[in-house]
């Protein structure tokens, strides 16, 4: 990979689509269609990635070294051989963690200003 985001001095800002894809892949490797469905599920259908948005974002994340493509499919017998699977790299995991922490801080600020209810203890 010629240039990765790790070379950047400041952490790059994630687009909403990239963040949601990283979030899906945080729970394990997955293929395009499953990523798309899970993103729609996470956002209550508000974010619908079309094939172009999905693979355009995947292309950029691959180039930046945030995700990588698996050489082998997890379960070839149960799956279509044309599918490609993707998983997080170490850098991708760090980025999604940092972004989640940033969002958590914002939520805490909003909660402190009584804009959100305090979550019920489980």
């Amino acid at each position: 990979m010629p240039e990765t985001t790790s070379n950047h001095k400041t952490p790059p800002s994630l687009t909403p689509a990239a963040f949601h894809i990283l979030l899906v892949l945080a729970s394990g490797e997955n293929h395009g269609y499953a990523i798309m469905r899970e993103v729609a599920e996470h956002t209550g259908g508000k974010m619908r990635l079309g094939p172009g948005s999905l693979y355009g974002t995947i292309k950029r994340m691959l180039a930046d070294g945030w995700i990588e493509e698996l050489d082998e499919r997890p379960d070839p017998e149960l799956d279509d051989e044309r599918r490609r699977y993707y998983r997080l790299t170490g850098l991708g995991r760090k980025l999604v963690q940092a972004e989640a922490e940033r969002l958590e801080q914002l939520v805490n600020i909003a909660r402190g200003k009584k804009l959100l209810r305090t979550p019920r203890s489980v």
Partner: protein
């Protein structure tokens, strides 16, 4: 609701979608066409299963909008990659050097043809500087580049229009009538000057140039000064019914050409730096694999 037949509609839709993928750059298609068609096929099956015909229509509307936007993005990104190549920087830098020479010629001879050539070649300088930033100039760089191009193209359009519509010929007969139209030229100059200033600021922040980092910024500020000079020594006398060159005045005969000559020197300096750097990069042997 699911009476709508799946097999035929799926096959036709997939064929149409595959054909539409030609909107994407070839390289992108080579990598992702199979996957995109697969995702579309899966989405189609699901949309049909859940909502029948209305689901399929909704999917098509969404997919088509997605295709239009993302194909455009991919095409622009592909162009940008080409734009950031050292060859573009080299040729743009050389254009800037020649543009600078024509700026000086325009200042010394007051020739409109030299001014037109300076502006056209200056576009190469803008492209070269923006390409040299290689995207590190961010939104500021992009905004500056866009304004620079818009301002320069507007200046060229105004010059073309002024000469072809007989405006310049009318100037001698009735200078005051020309003033409101002549006002557009310094306005276009201010736009390109602001653009170059922003591009220079982005360039300075991103440490684009190894030496004389502030030169593009200085050139941008000088362009704004140039537009103000043109306003004072050109448009103000015209609006008062006088031709700027009728009587000897310091502004028109000394200040205005001096600023043009300085602009020329600035473009030459910037172009030389950009071209030299790019040439060195092109001359470097490609890195060998470890």
């Amino acid at each position: 609701m699911n009476n709508f037949p799946l097999a035929n509609s799926l096959s036709v839709s997939v064929r149409v979608y595959r054909a539409l993928l030609v909107a994407y750059p070839k390289k992108f298609r080579e990598h992702y066409e199979t996957q995109m068609v697969q995702v579309f096929r899966d989405s189609f099956r699901e949309a049909h299963h859940r909502n029948g015909m209305s689901g399929v229509i909704d999917l098509w509307l969404h997919t088509f909008a997605d295709l239009l936007v993302t194909a455009l993005i991919e095409r622009v990104m592909e162009r940008s990659q080409y734009m950031f190549s050292p060859k573009v920087i080299l040729w743009g830098g050389l254009a800037s050097v020649f543009g600078g020479l024509f700026w000086m010629l325009a200042g010394l001879s007051n020739s409109p043809a030299a001014l037109v050539l300076a502006l056209v070649l200056g576009l190469g300088g803008l492209v070269s500087l923006y390409s040299r930033q290689a995207g590190q100039g961010g939104k500021l760089g992009l905004a500056g580049f866009t304004l620079g191009i818009i301002g320069t193209v507007l200046q060229l359009a105004v010059l073309w229009w002024a000469f072809t519509s007989g405006l310049v010929a009318n100037m001698k007969r009735d200078p005051a009538s020309v003033a409101p139209w002549a006002f557009i030229f310094p306005l276009a100059l201010v736009i390109s000057g602001i653009g170059l200033t922003l591009l220079g600021l982005a360039s300075w922040r991103a440490k684009t140039l190894h030496i004389w980092r502030g030169l593009p910024l200085g050139l941008g500020l000088l362009s704004i000064i140039y537009s103000l000079t043109m306003w004072l020594v050109g448009i103000v006398p015209l609006s008062q019914g006088r031709l700027p060159w009728d009587t000897w005045n310091f502004g028109f005969y000394v200040l205005y050409p001096a600023v043009q000559v300085l602009l020329g020197l600035g473009w030459i300096g910037l172009g030389t730096m950009l071209a030299t750097e790019a040439e060195a990069k092109i001359a470097q042997p490609p890195p060998t694999a470890a």
